[in-house]
Subunit: 256 residues, 2 copies
């Protein structure tokens, strides 16, 4: 099966913090030259797509708007397709991604990593909507993330709180939700077997992709920790960094 | 086995809101006359013991300070016994019950029904303590309670959020925790088989007591809803109200 599409995580694969990783720009240039379709799939939930695209440009990474997929963009698609009006429990930085979406008289709940913007009143309003039958859309269910002064609560605990309160299960829109991988490939008319995902998170990126029928390559950068490869699902591969991962694709596929 | 102690729920058994239930005072007078030991076991987590005792007095219900057991009083005992300094995520109305407890440099987390007083910063501080090994003490794990304008989130969802985030299990101090029933009987030198619990909550009051080896009587007042008796565990009994429940005790025991 000839490779058609490469899905790529961003943070921890191409850069860490505000610093490009060695060989990142060269790896991207080689992917571009190969003619393969590219999609950048991130779980970021505190930054709008526009803000993230600006940051990528500043880093010298050439990513087009329609190549960038985030949980918020997946949520936007779901809301529009199903005519849902969301109560948004999200970080203000993410608000631009929901611009123009009808939010009066909400009949759905979207939960992201709202951080300090979570409140009892907001969670209670969400709970009452869920009790009335509104679907719960989760931009992520990560337990925590790393801040300068320590670990902090991510979206997952608040999703868990609402699930417990209302006796419902959230629809997960971020990685490793199989629907996210399927949604990335559908517009490209690419089957899962013709695609591979490259990322630094063994569960969300690589095992998620493998479960959805794609190939998966774990890079030893970003959040990778020695031993993560022991948790790789069957068929998952390992590469030192994005450059080595791209090398392995080209060798496999003979596209160079 | 002769009956020694009667455990009694308060709200929904003796009164609803601010109104005494029919026969409540007479039932209490007959219990007093029987010479049985009495303990009042409530899951209230927005009102201090002192405030609750005042309210009971106003209703004409004669309850002594040391007869009243609440999750906060159980937490206070646990904190003092184990030398723990709690971070308190509780309703301000409950603060008097923790007066004098050392809270600097906390090494434990107590979660109650803090309502509007829950904040991301407070939950995050709790999470970091749990990550560092602090125990999580839950005053309750009820999903929601009824307010004038609808159902509202109780302590349970926030306990669930912290359990999910830190990968820990809370120690439950409210009903139906077996430890609560045991703690109520221990100072009375009463075995579980010599005690019975009367309440309007089939799970928290009656099945909880039965699981701890006590007898249990469900009254058809307060939060009782037709059909609740179908969920009664083996050995659980049913009575129309607190008067009928007391009647059944006296008939059983011949103490009148």
């Amino acid at each position: 099966m000839k490779l058609h599409t490469v899905l790529l995580d961003l943070g921890g694969v191409f850069y860490e913090g505000t610093r490009l990783l060695p060989g990142a720009q060269d790896a991207l240039a080689r992917l571009r030259a190969s003619g393969l379709a590219l999609r950048f799939v991130t779980n970021t939930t505190r930054q709008s797509r526009a803000a993230l695209l600006l940051e990528l440009a500043r880093l010298g990474l050439d990513v087009a708007t329609d190549e960038l997929l985030t949980p918020a963009s997946a949520a936007r698609t779901v809301l529009l397709e199903r005519g849902l009006r969301p109560l948004l429990l999200i970080h203000p930085g993410l608000a631009p991604d929901f611009a123009g979406i009808e939010v009066d008289q909400p009949n759905a709940v979207v939960v992201g990593d709202a951080g300090d913007h979570f409140s009892y009143a907001g969670l209670n309003q969400a709970f009452r909507l869920l009790q009335a039958g509104a679907p719960l859309l989760a931009l992520g269910r990560n337990r925590y993330f790393k801040e300068a002064d320590g670990l902090s609560l991510d979206a997952g605990p608040f999703v868990a709180a609402l699930e417990y309160a209302a006796g419902v299960s959230a629809e997960l829109l971020g990685k490793p939700a199989p629907a996210l991988f399927a949604a990335a490939l559908r517009p490209l008319a690419c089957t899962p077997a013709q695609a591979v995902m490259i990322g630094d998170d063994v569960e969300a990126d690589v095992n998620g992709a493998l479960a959805a029928g794609l190939g998966g390559i774990l890079v030893r950068t970003g959040k990778y920790r020695p031993g993560d490869e022991m948790r790789l699902a069957t068929g998952g591969r390992l590469a030192d960094d994005i450059g080595a991962a791209v090398d392995s694709l080209c060798l496999d596929q003979g596209t160079r």
